[in-house]
């Protein structure tokens, strides 16, 4: 195992440095970002290329983390959230993301909304039976709703008190971004898989022609074999976390909130995992399915994708 040097400038959050292990033509690189273990698996590349690929992946992931996190003061998200109702001009990357958020809001009939994060002030999904008061959630709804903001590329006007949050897109987007860039830079005939905390995508089968075997700790039920999944091509993403919920009078309140009511989506599954050509699409289909509540499976059946729902 060896440690890859990344300059402090490219590692603003001060994460531990990436670690590369492996040999011959098969490599495993690890680093941390977005509160998840990140893993890059490489097939058919030499050590030098593997080191470069891992360093690139870490730098790019950390850059995306810094750009789209809502906790980094002075980053584009922070500038928007502190805009106090004034127009904020954004760069192309952010503009694409906002376009996407707008389309997702539209396609989900308002159920997917990147301004819904403020509802967390009322909802603490700590497994307890503490539910917020209706007045509390109703008050917060005044600060929720994509239709309340004005988005005219490249300018965004966010009413004061509202916040945007890319928590539901950022990690999957980073997986695809890193995979696409690695696919371009690595030599032909190589194969790569990017796995950020269980949301993953690969460039195709391994160079041996076999599937990638990925350990998936939280979703043992996926493949019928405990803890591993095999993936030939495309991507997988999971929405949901069975540990985040409230329980009162025998009713389980999932952490999936409907921004139109301010309350959890009734009968949402514990988790939804979707296989799709890209990780972002897989993640968004999984999120849409969660927002469908009891109709999650029905929704996914219409999409011609493989999926696994845990209830």
């Amino acid at each position: 195992m060896n440690t890859i040097t990344v300059s402090a400038k490219d590692n603003p959050a001060g994460h531990p440095l990436p670690q590369l292990r492996g040999g011959q033509l098969s490599w495993q690189g690890r680093f941390e970002a977005m509160a998840s273990p990140c893993e890059i698996l490489l097939d058919g590349v030499n050590r030098r290329d593997a080191e470069q690929a891992l360093a690139f992946a870490a730098r790019e992931t950390w850059r995306l983390e810094r750009t789209f996190s809502r906790y980094v003061s002075g980053n584009p998200v922070d500038r928007i959230n502190r805009g106090k109702g004034e127009p904020v001009t954004v760069d192309d990357e952010m503009a694409l993301m906002l376009d996407y958020a707008a389309q997702c809001h539209d396609l989900s009939d308002g159920r997917f909304d990147i301004t819904s994060g403020v509802l967390r002030r009322a909802w603490r999904f700590d497994g307890s039976s503490h539910l917020p008061e209706q007045e509390e959630t109703d008050a917060l709804l005044d600060l929720v709703g994509w239709d309340k903001l004005s988005w005219q590329r490249p300018q965004l006007i966010l009413p004061e008190g509202m916040e945007i949050d890319f928590g539901g897109i950022g990690k999957e987007y980073a997986v695809d971004r890193v995979l696409l860039d690695l696919k371009q830079s690595l030599p032909e005939g190589s194969s790569v898989l990017v796995n950020f905390g269980g949301d993953l995508a690969c460039s195709g089968p391994r160079t041996s022609g076999k599937a990638w075997i990925v350990g998936v700790e939280d979703h043992q039920k996926l493949s019928g074999r405990s803890g591993t999944l095999s993936l030939y091509c495309g991507a997988l993403a999971t929405s949901g976390d069975s540990r985040r919920y409230l329980l009162k009078n025998g009713v389980r309140y999932s952490h999936i909130l409907d921004p139109r009511t301010g309350w959890p989506v009734p009968d949402a599954p514990h988790s939804v995992t979707v296989a799709a050509p890209t990780c972002t699409l897989a993640g968004m289909l999984a999120t849409f399915a969660m927002l469908e509540g009891a109709e999650a499976e029905h929704f996914l059946e219409q999409q011609d994708v493989q999926f696994w729902v845990q209830r």
């Binding site: 694409l96 996407y100 971004r177 076999k210 075997i213 030939y232 968004m284 029905h298 219409q302 999409q303």
Partner: protein, 452 residues
């Protein structure tokens, strides 16, 4: 209600498609299909038809094959295969050609056939249909081990073959090295037409005798059906050398015991006493020429070594070379060199093929027996066969395959091969020396295959 459901469904579908398009715009990529061959949950089917034809009206064969593989989750696979063969034509009986017409009793004992002077004696009663089925299952045990198990069965008119096999693979060095050990056990039941002849007994001929005498003589040369068992073990190493190169070494050992003789093959006994018949067929006491049924040892131990290298060029072309060495305790050694080169031509490919085969003869191979060796019915040897497949032999095969891939799943291919096989050995003496004891075998085959 149905109407509402229907509209919900189509709306959901539209949502998914619009979302896919939006995601592609976000990532700056084009939508790609996510299902391809080898994907879990699909049957991959391969169909093929092979037509084989030897020159001079010898063996003709047609062989349809259908093979289906079900891929469960990328690594667990079930393969089922069905093969049907139809063979017609004539094959060399082992007897030598002669300056005189020759008459032989057919294997069933119910008739006879005649071979013209100077012609190669062929047994034209040769005709068979074979149906074979096999099933094979492979799956990983864990990250480092995988196994496979399989079963095989085939049936033809006079032959039943069954086998089971299992193998264990161990992956090392991040799957760059694979060690494989395999074992196969087989039992065949041989039930020749008319019963298996007693080895080195004289073929009864009905000329100059009553039917009853012939029947009695025929019955005396028959055994009942017989079995053959086989044990095969294989040890292999597959090594990824680098991104372009894959190498494989195998060592195989094979032990057969039981009835290993070909019940339809015979030998001519040649008169080696000086006189007018020197080099002609020995004539027995009943006035008929003497032909003996062949006899082979009842065990055979074979060792084989195999080495294969595949090399992929930068432009996608693939070179594939292999060499096999085989030696057995029948005294046969053989060398096989096989070379292929696959030219990638966009969606199609062209693959020329060359094979060279060289084989030495078995210790008990005899193109004919002399009257001295026949020793008036008490042969001086225990085993003898004139089967050309056990003689000294050289084979050259030239061929080419052309394939076209419609998409990831569907491929059409056509393969044509031409074989020139020459045998060599003892050239005979006396009048036999003027006969062609080793006619060449030329054969061609065409295979059309389609997989989807």
């Amino acid at each position: 209600m149905q109407l509402i459901d229907h509209s919900n469904n189509s709306k959901s579908k539209t949502v998914g498609r619009a979302l896919a398009a939006a995601t592609c715009a976000l990532l700056g990529v084009h939508a790609t299909g996510s299902l391809a061959k080898g994907q879990p949950g699909e049957w991959d089917v391969e169909t093929a038809l092979l037509v084989y034809s030897e020159t001079d009206d010898r063996v003709q064969a047609a062989e349809p094959v259908i093979s289906a593989t079900r891929n469960f989750d990328g690594e667990r696979k079930l393969n089922l295969k069905l093969v049907a063969d139809t063979l017609t034509g004539a094959s060399p009986s082992g007897a030598t050609p002669s300056a005189l017409p020759q008459t032989y009793t057919s294997p069933s004992g119910n008739g006879s056939y005649e071979i013209a002077p100077g012609e190669a004696p062929l047994d034209d009663t040769f005709k068979d249909t074979r149906v074979a089925v096999s099933a094979n299952w492979e799956a990983p045990i864990n990250r480092d081990y995988a196994y496979s198990v399989g079963a095989y069965g085939s049936k033809e008119y006079d032959y039943l073959s069954t086998a089971v096999n299992a193998s264990l693979s161990r992956y090392l060095n991040n799957k760059n090295t694979t060690l494989t050990g395999g074992l196969s056990l087989g039992v065949d039941l041989v039930d020749p037409v008319g019963g298996a002849p007693v080895g080195l007994s004289r073929m009864p001929l009905n000329n100059n005798k009553s039917q009853a005498d012939f029947d009695q003589e025929f019955a005396a040369t028959r055994d009942s059906d017989d079995t053959k068992t086989m044990v095969d073990a294989l040890f292999g190493v597959t090594q990824v050398i680098n991104r372009q190169t894959l190498m494989q070494f195998n060592y195989g050992i094979s032990y057969s015991s039981g009835y290993l003789t070909d019940p339809y093959k015979i030998l001519s006994v040649i008169d080696d006493a000086s006189g007018s018949n020197y080099g002609g067929n020995l004539v027995g006491g009943d006035g008929n020429p003497v032909y003996l049924y062949e006899q082979r040892p009842d065990t055979r131990l074979k060792h084989s070594l195999y080495w294969q290298t595949k090399y992929m060029l930068g432009n996608g072309d693939v070179m594939d070379g292999s060499y096999r060495f085989m030696i057995d305790d029948w005294g046969i050694t053989s060398h096989t060199l096989d070379l292929k080169y696959r030219w990638q031509l966009g969606k199609s490919y062209l693959e020329p093929h060359f094979r060279y085969y060289l084989q030495s003869e078995a210790d008990f191979y005899k193109r004919y027996l002399t009257a001295s060796e026949y020793n008036s019915g008490a042969p001086v040897m225990t085993d003898a066969s004139a089967d050309y497949r056990l003689g000294e032999m050289t084979g050259l095969t030239f061929g080419a395959k052309w394939g076209y891939r419609f998409d990831d799943d569907r491929e059409l291919a056509i393969r044509a091969e031409y074989l020139i096989q020459t045998n060599d050995g003892d050239q005979g003496f006396g009048s036999l020396a003027s006969q062609d004891l080793y006619p060449d075998t030329n054969a061609m085959w065409l295979q059309l295959s389609y997989s989807f």
